[in-house]
C-alpha cells in the first residue's frame, strides 16, 4: 500500500513544522508576554523606561553568567538566571545606543574569571573541583564609575528590577548625592578628647549609620546658622537642640526650595551626654534631653508632643533589670518599643522591612492641622498606648511602676511620618538679619520630609552590633533601624522614577489568619510564662527566707524547713508542668485549623461527587426498572 510512505512523510513534516514554529517564535518573540501578576512584577515599569531612556552618556553592563556550569551543577538557579538575562536584554532593547550589554561566560581559571573577580562579581564555589559559579553584573560609565551586583540572589527576585534600575541610575548620575548632617551628637565619631574623661562611654567610632551613609554618599557636616549649601541634596537632622531662628530659617528655606530632609526629634534622647558640672553633679541627671521641631512644625504641619514619651504595651520590649531584692528579672519596659511589619505603612521605605525597629522613649507625632501638607504615617504603634512623663524616667526608669501607671488611650500613635505636598514658610517675608535674597514663602513644588520622633533609634545600641572580624569591622544588624534610615535617605535622594519602582514587589504573602492565631497564642504564652515565672521566683524567695529565719534553732529549722521545702518543690514542679503544657498547646488552634482545612479540601468535594455518582446510578437503575415494566 502506498499509505506508509505518505504517513511517514506526513509525520516528518509535522515534526519539522512544529520545531520550526518554536525556533522562530523563540527568536523573534522574546519579551512578549501577558503579565497577570497583581503587581506586574514581570513588566518593566515606566520608572525603568524613564531612567534608561534618559541616559545621557553611554553605560556598559557586563553580565557574568556561568551558563554551562549552572546547567550542570546548579540547575535550580537556571530559570532565575534566564530571567535575569532576559530582563537585561529588555533594558538594552529600550536604549541600545546608550546601554550596551555584554554577556560573558567565564571559564574556570580564565582571564574572564579574574576580570569578574576584580570587578567585584562573586564567584560561588559550586562543586568539589572548586569551579566558581558566576551570576553577577558589573556596570561602568564613561567616567569610570563602577557599580556591581555581586550575585543575583533568587530570594531578591521581587527587587530585581529595582536593583537593576538603581544600578543604571547610579551610573547615569555623575556625582553621588550629598547628605548634609546637622547634629550636635557625635555621629561622625567623637573629636573631643575631654569627652574621654567626663564620659568614658562616649562613642569614639563613628556611628554605624554614619559609616553606612559615607559608603554610599558624600557626607558633609552642616552648620545651619549659615544658609545651606546648594550642593546638599538631603539633610539628615538628628536631635536639633535649641536651634536659633536663623538655623531653623535656613533649614526651612532649604526644604521649601525642594531640598529633602530626614529629621529626628525626641522628647528624651537617652544617648545625649550632658556634660556634668562638678559643682552640681545631680543636675545632669535632671537635665532636659529633648529636641523639638520649633518653627519647622508650622511649615511642616506636624509636631511632637513635648516632654512626654509613648508607652506601647503591645510592643514593649523585655529588658532585664535588678529588682529590689537584688535578683535579675525580665520585665516589659514600655519605653522600649519594637515595631514590625504590622506597624509599617505600605510605603517605599518600609516595604522590605521584615524584622522590627527598636525605638527608645519616642514621642508622638501629630498633625497640627495648620498647614496644607500631606502627612503620611510611616511607622506607628499599636492601639495600646499611653503618654508617659519623661520626668519619670530621667533618673532611674522603673518599668514596673510604668506598667502600673499605664492606662491605654486606645489610640495608634505615629513614630515616623512623611510630609509632602506644598508648604508655606514659617517666616513669612523672611527673617531679619538672614539673607533673604531668594526667600520663598511657598514651596517650589512638593516638599518631601520624613520626621521621626526618636533620636535613640539612630544610635548603634538599638539596632546593630559592631564586631571585629579579622580586623574588619563587621555590622551585625539586630533590628531594622538602619535599613529604615538607609531606605529613607535613598528614597529622598533618588529621583521619582526610582522611588516608583521600589514601591513594588511585596515578596511574601503569609497566611494572615494563621499568623493571628499564632500571635494570640504567643501572647497568651507570654502572659502565663510571666505568671509562672513570678510564682517560681516567689517560691525561691520563700525558701531563702525560711533558711535565714530558722538559722538559730537547728531542730525547728530541720522540720519546718523540710516540710516547707517539700511543699515548695511540689509547687515548683506543678508550675513547671503547667508551663510545659501551655507551651505544648501553643499550636493547638493553628493545628486544628489545619485539620479542618484538610478535611474541607481533600474529602469534601470527592465525597460529594461520590454521593452524586451513587444518586445518578440509582436514578438510572430506577429508570431502567420503570422501562422494563
Amino acid at each position: 500500500m502506498n499509505q506508509k510512505p505518505l504517513l511517514i512523510g506526513g509525520l516528518a513534516i509535522t515534526i519539522v513544522l512544529v520545531i520550526a514554529i518554536n525556533v522562530v517564535s523563540n527568536m523573534f518573540l522574546s519579551g512578549k508576554r501577558i503579565d497577570l501578576t497583581e503587581e506586574k512584577l514581570f513588566t518593566l515599569t515606566d520608572g525603568t523606561r524613564s531612567i534608561v531612556n534618559n541616559l545621557e552618556e553611554p553605560i556598559t553592563l557586563r553580565f557574568y553568567y556561568s551558563r554551562k556550569l549552572a546547567q550542570e551543577e546548579a540547575p535550580g538557579i537556571v530559570p532565575y538566571a534566564i530571567r535575569v538575562e532576559e530582563i537585561l536584554q529588555e533594558y538594552a532593547a529600550l536604549n541600545p545606543e546608550k546601554l550596551r550589554l555584554e554577556i560573558i561566560e567565564p571559564e574556570s581559571f580564565s582571564e574572564e574569571e579574574d576580570e569578574a573577580a576584580l570587578a567585584g562579581v562573586e564567584g560561588v564555589p559550586i562543586n568539589s573541583a572548586g569551579d566558581l559559579l558566576f551570576l553577577g553584573l558589573h556596570g561602568t560609565n564613561t567616567i569610570d564609575d563602577e557599580e556591581v551586583i555581586p550575585f543575583f540572589r533568587p530570594e531578591r527576585e521581587a527587587y530585581l528590577e529595582y536593583d537593576l534600575s538603581e544600578l543604571v541610575y547610579n551610573l547615569s548620575v555623575a556625582d553621588k548625592p550629598t547628605i548634609g548632617v546637622i547634629t550636635e551628637l557625635p555621629l561622625s565619631g567623637s573629636t573631643d578628647p575631654m569627652l574621654q574623661f567626663t564620659n568614658p562611654e562616649a562613642v569614639q567610632q563613628p556611628w554605624a549609620i554614619y559609616s553606612q551613609l559615607t559608603e554610599m554618599y558624600e557626607v558633609r557636616e552642616v552648620r545651619p546658622v549659615d544658609p545651606i549649601d546648594e550642593e546638599i541634596d538631603v539633610l539628615f537632622v538628628v536631635h536639633p537642640r535649641d536651634l536659633p531662628d536663623a538655623s531653623l530659617y535656613h533649614i526651612e528655606q532649604f526644604i521649601l526650595a525642594g531640598g529633602r530632609a530626614m529629621i529626628f526629634v525626641d522628647p528624651h534622647a537617652e544617648i545625649e551626654q550632658v556634660p556634668t558640672d562638678p559643682n552640681q553633679p545631680m543636675a545632669a541627671m535632671f537635665a532636659s534631653k529633648e529636641s523639638k521641631l520649633g518653627k519647622l512644625a508650622d511649615m511642616l504641619g506636624v509636631n511632637m508632643i513635648p516632654s512626654q514619651f509613648v508607652g506601647d504595651k503591645e510592643n514593649a520590649q523585655r529588658i532585664v533589670i535588678r529588682n529590689d531584692r537584688g535578683l535579675t528579672e525580665p520585665v516589659n519596659y514600655l519605653g522600649y518599643v519594637g515595631l514590625g511589619p504590622d506597624n509599617l505603612a505600605d510605603d517605599v521605605v518600609t516595604a522590605d522591612l521584615s524584622s522590627q525597629m527598636i525605638f527608645a522613649t519616642a514621642g508622638e507625632i501629630f498633625e497640627t492641622g495648620n498647614a496644607d501638607t500631606n502627612v503620611i504615617p510611616l511607622v506607628y504603634t499599636s492601639q495600646q498606648t499611653d503618654l508617659l512623663n519623661v520626668d519619670d524616667i530621667k533618673v532611674q526608669p522603673n518599668p514596673a511602676e510604668l506598667l502600673k501607671q499605664f492606662e491605654s488611650e486606645d489610640e495608634v500613635k505615629n513614630f515616623a511620618v512623611r510630609v509632602t505636598g506644598s508648604a508655606t514658610s514659617a517666616f513669612p517675608g523672611g527673617l531679619e538679619g538672614s539673607e533673604s535674597e531668594n526667600h520663598l514663602d511657598e514651596s517650589d513644588g512638593d516638599i518631601n520630609v520624613i520626621v521621626v520622633s526618636d533620636v535613640d533609634m539612630v544610635y548603634d545600641r538599638f539596632w546593630v552590633q559592631m564586631q571585629n572580624f579579622f580586623g574588619q569591622r563587621v555590622m551585625m544588624q539586630t533590628a531594622d533601624n538602619g535599613r529604615f534610615m538607609m531606605n529613607s535617605i535613598e528614597n529622598l535622594t533618588g529621583n521619582t522614577d526610582l522611588i516608583s519602582i521600589r514601591s513594588r514587589g511585596v515578596s511574601t504573602r503569609p497566611f494572615t489568619v494563621v499568623n493571628e492565631l499564632a500571635k494570640k497564642a504567643g501572647e497568651e504564652l507570654q502572659a502565663r510564662e510571666q505568671e509562672l515565672e513570678d510564682r517560681i521566683s516567689e517560691i525561691n524567695e520563700e525558701l531563702q527566707a525560711i533558711q535565714s529565719e530558722t538559722q538559730g534553732d537547728t531542730l525547728a529549722m530541720t522540720t519546718e524547713l523540710e516540710t516547707r521545702i517539700e511543699e515548695a518543690q511540689q509547687e515548683y514542679a506543678e508550675a513547671r508542668r503547667e508551663l510545659r503544657s501551655v507551651r505544648q498547646n501553643l499550636n493547638k488552634d493553628v493545628e486544628s485549623l489545619g485539620s479542618k482545612l484538610r478535611l474541607y479540601n481533600i474529602i469534601l468535594l470527592p465525597g460529594l461527587i461520590t454521593l452524586l455518582a451513587f444518586i445518578v446510578g440509582l436514578v438510572k437503575a430506577q429508570k431502567r426498572r420503570n422501562a422494563l415494566r
Binding site: 500500500m1 499509505q3 506508509k4 505518505l6 504517513l7 506526513g10 509525520l11 509535522t14 515534526i15 513544522l17 512544529v18 514554529i21 518554536n22 517564535s25 523563540n26 518573540l29 522574546s30 512578549k32 508576554r33 501577558i34 503579565d35 497577570l36 501578576t37 497583581e38 503587581e39 512584577l41 514581570f42 551558563r67 554551562k68 546547567q71 550542570e72 540547575p75 537556571v78 530559570p79 511574601t508 504573602r509 503569609p510 497566611f511 494572615t512 489568619v513 494563621v514 499568623n515 489545619g594 482545612l597 484538610r598 474541607y600 479540601n601 481533600i602 474529602i603 469534601l604 468535594l605 470527592p606 461527587i609 461520590t610 452524586l612 455518582a613 445518578v616 446510578g617
Partner: protein, 242 residues
C-alpha cells in the same frame, strides 16, 4: 459542524458511566493529598497555590494517559471506528471532537479544585492573577499531554499498551528538566541542543507560567505541540482507515 456533535456525544458519554466520577474523585483526592501532605501547603504559610500546582505535571503524567487511552484504542478494538468512518464525518472532525470532549472533561475536573482557591483566599491575600495564570497553564499542559495520549492511542488497538506508551512518551516531555538525564546527553549534544531539550520540558515551562506570566513563546509551544500531535493523530487514523 460535525466536530460539535461529536464533542457533545463524547462529553455526555463520559458522565453516563461511573468512570468519569471515579476519575474526578481520584483526581481531586490526589491533588488534595499531594497539596497538603507532600506540598506542605499549610505549613508553608504562604498565600499562594504553588504547593498545589507544582505537582500537576506529574499527576497528569498518569491521569491524562488514562483518559486518553480509551479515545481511539477502544474504538479500534470494538470495531466502532468503522461505524464512525461510514458516517459523513471527516477524520479531523472526529479527532477534534473527541479531543475537545476529553479536554473539556479535564477542565471540569480542574475546576472542581476551586475549594482550594477559596481556602487560600480565606487564609491570606494571594495574588489572583498568578493563580489564574497557573490554571490556564495547567489546562494548556493537560491539553498537551492529552494530544500526545490521543495520538498514541490511535496507534494501537490495546488500551493498556496505549496507556503505557503514552506515559513513557509523556515522561520524556515532563522530566527532561532534571540534569541527571542531561549528563549522558550533554557530552553528545552541543549547547544549543541542551537548550533545546530544556525548552521541551513541561515542568520547566509550567513553572514559568506558575509565576504568573503567560509568555507568548510558551503558549505557542504548547499550542503547536497540541496541533502537531493532533495532526499526526489524524494522519494515523486516515492511514489505518484503509
Amino acid at each position: 459542524m460535525m466536530t460539535w456533535t461529536i464533542f457533545k456525544r463524547e462529553l455526555s458519554g463520559y458522565f453516563a458511566t461511573p468512570v468519569a466520577y471515579v476519575f474526578i474523585v481520584i483526581f481531586l483526592l490526589l491533588t488534595g493529598v499531594f497539596t497538603f501532605e507532600m506540598g506542605g501547603f499549610y505549613e508553608r504559610n504562604q498565600a499562594d497555590l504553588q504547593a498545589f500546582f507544582q505537582f500537576h505535571p506529574y499527576l497528569y503524567l498518569f491521569l491524562i494517559p488514562a483518559l486518553a487511552m480509551r479515545l481511539w484504542a477502544e474504538e479500534r478494538k470494538s470495531g466502532t471506528i468503522e461505524l464512525l468512518m461510514t458516517l459523513p464525518v471527516k477524520t479531523w472532525e472526529a479527532v477534534l471532537g473527541k479531543y475537545f470532549a476529553a479536554l473539556a472533561f479535564t477542565a471540569i475536573a480542574l475546576m472542581l479544585t476551586f475549594p482550594l482557591w477559596f481556602t487560600v483566599n480565606y487564609l491570606g491575600d494571594p495574588d489572583h492573577g498568578v493563580i489564574i495564570a497557573s490554571y490556564i497553564g495547567s489546562l494548556l499542559m493537560a491539553g498537551a499531554y492529552l494530544a500526545i495520549g490521543s495520538c498514541i492511542s490511535a496507534m494501537t488497538k490495546n488500551q493498556v499498551i496505549a496507556f503505557v506508551v503514552s506515559v513513557m512518551v509523556c515522561l520524556v516531555f515532563a522530566l527532561i528538566g532534571p540534569v541527571e538525564e542531561l549528563d549522558l546527553v550533554r557530552n553528545i549534544l552541543p549547547e544549543a541542543g541542551i537548550d533545546f531539550l530544556l525548552s521541551i520540558s513541561f515542568d520547566l515551562r509550567f513553572r514559568e507560567i506558575m509565576r504568573g506570566v503567560l509568555d507568548i513563546r510558551t503558549i505557542i509551544y504548547f499550542v503547536s505541540l497540541i496541533g502537531g500531535w493532533l495532526f499526526a493523530n489524524t494522519l494515523i487514523i486516515e492511514a489505518k482507515k484503509n
